[in-house]
């Protein structure tokens, strides 16, 4: 099994396509960093235009933690598309190249083969997130320094103390990993059904875009189904940045407003992963390889 995973990782990281996502993330974060370094004050002003009519915010709002949050907010909606690029290609790409049939005539059970491929996909996803963390968190911490984190929520604003932030990012990245693995497993499942990678990639992206729009739309009819869409739960990482207040409306350092919600979302995502991977194995075991 370890040999198989090694081989799959070797294949992933020898392909040019793999690096598109890394390059895209580097480019996007680079642009955000460049833009904010250059004209960050205008951005902050724009971001705060709704709040500054009521309160005055003073201090270094645009610090590394804030820039990281901006990066995650922007990127974590789109990183799934980059993950789809590789995950949805895992089986279909091999079918397209014709290597799938050779792989499957080797003395390896299909389940093992699939699990190895999925593990490699997960490893790729995690590496992408680690790269994202390096660029969005650590590089921004160096470039912009660290300070308190001021966040606008839809109903209120949150101010987190400088020393109360890093651990939240660690958990947020962990949660994001779970969300991205969900995407990866969906793409992986779709990749079983086609003999070229375009179809599954587009299908995965479409599902994510479609669900995300449904999740965002604030139309009462759709609100009923929102809890059942995995995209609704994918932004659960943000919950780590909401803090509890005591009866004096004083933020309790080190607290999370709604940990149960995070746990629920994580469980929903986990269930999706298990479901998608389980379905993949079930289908793949019976699948006739005609490519």
């Amino acid at each position: 099994m370890w040999t198989l995973i090694q081989i799959e990782l070797f294949k992933i990281f020898r392909r040019p396509r793999t690096y598109i996502a890394f390059a895209a993330i580097t480019g996007l974060i680079g642009i955000i960093q460049f833009g904010l370094k250059l004209d960050g004050d205008s951005y902050v002003e724009f971001m705060m235009r709704d709040i500054t009519s009521s309160i005055t915010v003073e201090g270094k709002v645009l610090n590394g933690y804030q820039v990281c949050y901006i990066c995650l907010q922007v990127l974590l909606v789109h990183v799934p598309l980059l993950i789809a690029l590789v995950a949805a290609d895992m089986i279909s790409g091999e079918a397209n190249m014709g290597t799938l049939r050779i792989m499957l005539t080797k003395p390896i059970s299909r389940t093992k083969f699939l699990l190895a491929k999925f593990t490699a996909t997960v490893a790729y996803t995690l590496m992408l997130l680690v790269w994202l963390a390096i660029l969005a968190l650590f590089v921004n911490m160096i470039l912009f320094g660290t300070d308190d984190l001021f966040l606008l929520k839809s109903e209120y604003v949150v101010l987190l103390k400088k020393d109360d932030i890093f651990w939240r990012y660690v958990w947020a990245f962990g949660f994001a990993a779970l969300a991205m693995i969900t995407v990866a497993s969906l793409g992986f499942l779709f990749s079983l059904f086609a003999e070229n990678s375009i179809g599954p990639i587009v299908a995965t992206m479409s599902v994510i875009i479609f669900f995300t729009i449904l999740s965002t739309l604030n139309i009462p009819v759709f609100n009923k189904i929102k809890p059942f869409l995995f995209t609704t739960h994918m932004i659960g990482w943000k919950e780590f940045f909401d803090i509890k207040v005591n009866s004096n409306n004083e933020a309790i350092i080190g607290s999370i407003q709604n940990p149960q919600k995070i746990i629920n979302s994580a469980l929903v995502l986990l269930l999706h992963i298990v479901g998608f991977v389980g379905a993949s194995i079930w289908i793949f075991k019976k699948k006739d390889v005609l490519s």
Partner: protein
């Protein structure tokens, strides 16, 4: 000789298409087993069932005396295959491809052994180049190196000459002979061209529309003294019935809806003619096939009527 592959009643149904129907054959140890049929005759489906790529709807497959499904990994570890196009990872080098597949076959390989293998197929000098830059023939040779790297007992080549130039085709032919004669391997090779098979095959199976047409020793099928006569009558069923009751029963080959095939010595044709008249079989045509090639083309042309045939 031991049958190394025994296929019984193999059927594969794809939705409403029957790709392979009630196919039975056996391959003996040491055979070069030619598997002939038009494109779409069911060769690839059959071969893929042998390699567990496709699950049969019905029937059984035994390889090395063991049921395929139950002993899948054990059996597959002793099979090497090239299926249609030689497909390898284009972004990897020849060496990396070979190493990767060798590892998947659970073979402990040294760099030296891999290079030797590449050298055998004439790719040693290109070992470090990515496959992207390879010609079709080179890819095919790499595919063969991959199929052979774990020293399998049974080698399955599905349309190995597809897309190759004459030199490439000749190379494949020599390779098959080398595998069979020098290395004593059993080889199953499929093709839609008889000419490629007839020079190497020891046994042969011809299928059409998923059904077996004929199976036999190549020596018998190619016997110049023997010929196959195709008989068409007003009532083929009646003709068949009569012939089965007559002394010609042993000569009868596969029955088809529109014709009856009779294999016989050329000199016996006049006698057959007389007997048909005696049996009151109303003959529409009685045509000898001069060679297996003719016959193969005829049975697999998709045209069930032979009256257009002229030679």
């Amino acid at each position: 000789m031991q049958p190394i592959v025994t296929v019984t009643g193999l059927t594969k149904q794809f939705k409403n298409i029957t790709a392979v129907q009630d196919l039975s054959f056996s391959v003996n140890e040491g055979d070069v087993y030619g598997f002939l049929g038009q494109n779409g005759a069911g060769k690839s489906t059959t071969i893929r069932m042998l390699l567990t790529l496709i699950e049969p709807t019905n029937g059984s497959i035994e390889i090395f005396g063991k049921e395929l499904h139950a002993h899948r990994n054990e059996i597959l570890s002793e099979i090497g295959a090239v299926i249609e196009k030689p497909d390898v990872y284009k972004y990897l080098s020849a060496y990396e491809n070979l190493k990767l597949f060798a590892r998947l076959s659970n073979v402990k390989v040294t760099e030296q052994k891999l290079m030797e293998q590449l050298d055998k197929v004439g790719l040693a000098h290109r070992a470090k180049d990515t496959v992207k830059t390879f010609s079709q023939g080179m890819k095919q040779r790499l595919g063969i190196a991959i199929a052979l790297v774990h020293d399998p007992r049974l080698i399955i080549l599905d349309e190995p000459t597809n897309g190759l130039d004459p030199q490439g085709i000749a190379d494949i032919r020599n390779l098959i002979l080398h595998l069979s004669r020098d290395l004593k391997k059993t080889v199953i090779v499929s093709s839609h061209l008889l000419s490629e098979i007839e020079q190497v095959a020891t046994r042969m199976l011809i299928i059409d529309k998923g059904k077996k047409i004929i199976e036999g020793n190549a020596a018998d099928l190619f016997d110049p003294a023997q010929t196959i006569v195709e008989l068409q009558t007003f009532d083929n069923a009646y003709a068949l019935q009569q012939l089965q009751l007559s002394g010609w029963a042993n000569h009868l080959q596969t029955r088809r809806d529109t014709a009856v095939l009779i294999k016989l010595d050329r000199q016996l044709i006049p006698k057959l003619h007389r007997d048909l008249v005696d049996m009151d079989i109303q003959v529409l045509s009685l045509q000898p096939r001069h060679s297996l090639e003719d016959y193969f083309l005829q049975v697999t042309s998709g045209n069930q009527h032979v009256d257009t045939y002229t030679n």
